[in-house]
Symmetry: C2
Subunit: 461 residues, 2 copies
C-alpha cells in the first residue's frame, strides 16, 4: 500500500526499518558514480523526503536518467538519515517512472522570479514558496469555518449574480447572455434587458452583506465566505478583480461587541495557522519575511486599541511628522496615517465613529448626526484588514439616508423590510481573505496568494 | 448577560431555576386574560422557547400588544415546564420590545405555500422549514470541509472568471465591462474584445476541475467548493443558474480508488448531518419527507454496487418493464432507467465505463477504444448525485481526443502541460451541492435549498 509522506513523518517510529511505497515527484536529483539522491515530494506535507539508491539496482543507469519533475513510485526501506535535522531517508529497492518530464520543464531547482512563476501558475504550485502559500490558504480557510461553526454561526452562501448595483462599494462586471453584436435597444435609446437571461440588468456582486443581514435576522449569527468581484481598472499589489471575502453578521450585537468578535476571530485564525502550518511558516519566516512568526505571535498576544476617528486625526495633527497628505477632521486617512497610528499604539487599532460622508449608507448614524458607527481595523504590516459597522436599524433613518444619497428604493425594498419587521441592533464586518493571506504569509503581491489571479487584462488558465 | 437559546438547551441543568436574559423574536403569541404565552426563537437552535408572562407585570397590557415577528428582550426565570416534551420554559419578569413588527408582516404563524415564500426569500428563513433547510446547508458545508481537511486535502479556490469556453459542460454567462450600447466591432464583423476588461472574451465558469487538476499534480489531494454557473434556459425543479459544486481531485488515484472516496465521503456527510442536525432532521422527516431519516440511515449502512454501463443496459433490456425510452448500448440512460437500476440493486449504484461519445474529452479511454473511465453515482431518491472519472493522463491520447472533437488547443496548453511534465494516473469527481441538499432535506425544488436562488428570469434580492 502506498503511504503519504505526511503520515510517514507523523508516525516515523512505527515505520522505521520497514519497507514502504511512496508515489510523488522528483524535485531534485543529484547523481554520483555509485549513488543517486532524489529529493522527493508527494505534496501531502511541506517536507520532502530524501530517497537514496545505489548501483546494486539492476536499472541504476535508467534511474539516473529520470529528470526533475517526473512522477515516480519509490519502494524502499525507511532508515535513519546521517544528515542532521532529517529524521529518516528511504533506501530504495526500486524507483519506477510513472510519468516522465522533459528537460524543458520550466520549474527547475533554482530561483525563479515571481513574475515568471505567475506566467506558469499551473506549475508554480510545485515550488516550495507556493506549496507553502497555498497550504496556508487552505488551512486558514478551514480555520475561518471552524471558528464560526464551533460558535454556532450559520454559513450562508449569498448570491454572486445580483441586480443590486453595489451601493457604491465598487465598479461591477456586467453579466449577460445577449448577443453582443445585436444588443436590443429600446425606443428611448437604452439597452433593452427584457431579452436578457434575467430580464433585467445583472452584474457580479461586490458584497454579500445585505443578504447576510436577512439571514442574521433569523439565525442571529451568520457568516459568508465566498468570491466577490471588482471591475476597477487598478493595477496595484493589493487589488484583484476576483477575490474572497468573509462577512459575518450578528443580530443583537453593537459595535463594541463586534470589535470583540473581530479581535477574537483574527487571533484564532493566526494561532490556528501557526499551529497547523509549522513547516510552511518556518519557511516563509526564513525566505519571505524575516520575523514573520514573531510578528504573528505578537498579534496573538496583543490587546487591540480602540479609538475614534476624531482622536486619530488629533494624534496625526499633533505628530512631529511631515505627512504627504495633511490629516483632516471629516476626511479619510491615508496609508501613511494608518502606518503612523499602528506604530503610535504599537499594535492593532480599531478606528471607529467615522464621518458619515465617507462611509456606506447602511451604517448607523451616531447621536451627533455627523459620524457613523463604522469601524476599521488597522493592523501593523497589513493596513486595513477589516471594515465593519453597526447597521442602521431604524427604518426612517435608513430611508432618509438613502434619499439623501439619491439611492433608489427599487430593488432594496426587501432590505428596508428587515428594519420594518422585527428589526434590531445588529452589526457585521467584512474581511478580504487575500489581505489576510498577504499578512499571514509575508508575500507582498495579491497575485501570489490567489491560485489563478484575475486582474485587468489578465484572465489566463 | 444575554444567553443563546442553544446554550440554554445544552446546559439546562446549570440554568434551571436561575434568571436569564434572552434576545430574539416572537414566532407566535397566544393571549389569555391573565396570562400570555410567547413562542420565542433567537435562531441559534431549531427549538423554540416558551415564554410565559402574567398580569402581575405592570406592563402586562402593553406586552399583550406585541405582534408576531417583533424583536424582544426577555428577562425571566428558567422553570420546569408542565408541557410534555418541553424541558423548560421561561417565567418572564420582563418582556421588552426591541423592534416592532406591524400586522402586515408576511410570515404569520400559519401554513404558507413555498411559492409565496420564494417571493419573500428575505423573510422565509424565519419559518421552521427554512430554518431547518439552511442550517442543514451550513452544517453539510462544514462536514464537507471537515471530511477533506481531516484527510489532508488542500482546499483550492478555483477562479470563476474564465476564458475557457466550458468544454461543452454547459452554456456560459458572458462577463464584460464594455458599454452594451457601443460594442466595438472589428473589420471582420466580430466583437472586438481588445477594449474589454480582460482584453478577451470572458465568462463565468461551469467547472473548477481543470484548475483543480493542476493543484492535484502538486498536492496529491485537493478539493474545490465554490459557486458554478449555467446559462441554460431550463426551468426545472433541479436546475439553477448559480449553484455550488464540490470537485475533489486526487493524483495517483484510479477509478476504483475514486469510487472508494466518493462512497466514504457521502456516508460521512450524511452521518455528520444526522448527528449534528437532530432537531432539523426530525422536523423534515415529519413534515417534508416521511421516512427521510430511515432513508439516510439506510444509505450510511449500505454497500454501493459497481457495474459497467454495458451491464446496466443489459439489465434494462432484460427488465420486464415498458420504458418510455428504450435503453441502448452506446447511449445515455434516462431518469426512469436510473430509478430502475437503483431499485434493482436496492441501493446506490456506481455506473462506470461509459461510451466515450457521450462523455467529456478529458476522461481516460479504456483499452477497448470505445468506452471511457467515467463513473456516475446513482442514489435512490436522488438520481445522479456525483459524476467523476479517471482523467486521460496520456498527452498524445488527450491531444488526439481534443482534435477529434474539434477543440482548440489555444487556452488549454497549460492543461496539456499537466500531462507533459510529470503526469500521472489521477481521478476526480464533481458533486452538485444543491442536489445533495435536496436529497438530505427531502425538499424537492432547488429554489428552496438556495438562500437567494437565481433561475431564468429571476434575480431578485
Amino acid at each position: 500500500m502506498v503511504i503519504d509522506a505526511k503520515k510517514l513523518y507523523e508516525k516515523i517510529d512505527e515505520f522505521m526499518d520497514k519497507e514502504v511505497t511512496l508515489e510523488g515527484w522528483i524535485r531534485n536529483h543529484r547523481k554520483q558514480k555509485e549513488f543517486g539522491f532524489i529529493d522527493f515530494s508527494d505534496g501531502t506535507c511541506f517536507k520532502h523526503i530524501q530517497v537514496v539508491y545505489d548501483d546494486k539496482l539492476s536499472d541504476f543507469e535508467t534511474i539516473q536518467k529520470y529528470h526533475v519533475g517526473s512522477a515516480i513510485k519509490v519502494i524502499g526501506k525507511v532508515v535513519k538519515s546521517p544528515k542532521e535535522g532529517q529524521p529518516f531517508e528511504i533506501q530504495a529497492s526500486g524507483v519506477i517512472l510513472l510519468g516522465e518530464c522533459p528537460e524543458d520543464y520550466p520549474i527547475q531547482p533554482k530561483k525563479h522570479s515571481r513574475e515568471f512563476l505567475r506566467e506558469v501558475a499551473h506549475l508554480r504550485v510545485r515550488t516550495n514558496l507556493f506549496q507553502a502559500v497555498f497550504r496556508v490558504r487552505s488551512v486558514a480557510s478551514y480555520a475561518i469555518h471552524k471558528y464560526f461553526q464551533d460558535r454556532g454561526y450559520v454559513y450562508v452562501q449569498t448570491p454572486l449574480l445580483t441586480a443590486n448595483d453595489g451601493e457604491g462599494a465598487g465598479e461591477m462586471f456586467q453579466v449577460t447572455t445577449m448577443d453582443l453584436k445585436n444588443i436590443p435597444i429600446t425606443k428611448e435609446g437604452n439597452v433593452n434587458f427584457n431579452d436578457d437571461f434575467f430580464s433585467k440588468k445583472v452584474g457580479l456582486t461586490v458584497t454579500g452583506q445585505l443578504e447576510a443581514e436577512a439571514f442574521a435576522m433569523a439565525y442571529k449569527k451568520v457568516y459568508t465566505f465566498g468570491p466577490t468581484f471588482r471591475a476597477e481598472d487598478s493595477n496595484t499589489k493589493v487589488h484583484a478583480s476576483e477575490f474572497w471575502m468573509i462577512e459575518p453578521e450578528i443580530a443583537f450585537c453593537d459595535i463594541d461587541e463586534l470589535m470583540d468578535i473581530e479581535e477574537d476571530m483574527l487571533k484564532y485564525i493566526v494561532k490556528y495557522v501557526l499551529e497547523n502550518c509549522k513547516d510552511e511558516m518556518e519557511f516563509l519566516d526564513k525566505f519571505v519575511e524575516k520575523g514573520l512568526i514573531e510578528k504573528l505571535e505578537k498579534l496573538v498576544n496583543s490587546k487591540f486599541t480602540r479609538v475614534t476617528h476624531e482622536e486619530v486625526i488629533k494624534i496625526l495633527k499633533d505628530a512631529k511628522v511631515k505627512f504627504e497628505f495633511t490629516p483632516e477632521y471629516g476626511e479619510d486617512i491615508a496609508k501613511e496615517h494608518e502606518k503612523y497610528i499602528t506604530e503610535y499604539f504599537n499594535g492593532p487599532v480599531f478606528i471607529k465613529d467615522w464621518p458619515k460622508d465617507i462611509k456606506a449608507f447602511y451604517m448607523k448614524l451616531n447621536e451627533d448626526g455627523k459620524t457613523v458607527r463604522g469601524v476599521d481595523l488597522e493592523v501593523p504590516g497589513a493596513g486595513e484588514l477589516m471594515g465593519g459597522s453597526e447597521r442602521e436599524a431604524c427604518y426612517t433613518k435608513l430611508k432618509q439616508r438613502m434619499d439623501e444619497l439619491g439611492m433608489k428604493e427599487e430593488g432594496l425594498e426587501w432590505y428596508l423590510d428587515l428594519r420594518k419587521y422585527g428589526g434590531c441592533v445588529h452589526s457585521g464586518f467584512g474581511m478580504g481573505f487575500e489581505r489576510l493571506l498577504i499578512y499571514l504569509t509575508g508575500v507582498e503581491n495579491i497575485r501570489d496568494v490567489i491560485p489563478f489571479p484575475r486582474t485587468p487584462g489578465n484572465c489566463e488558465f
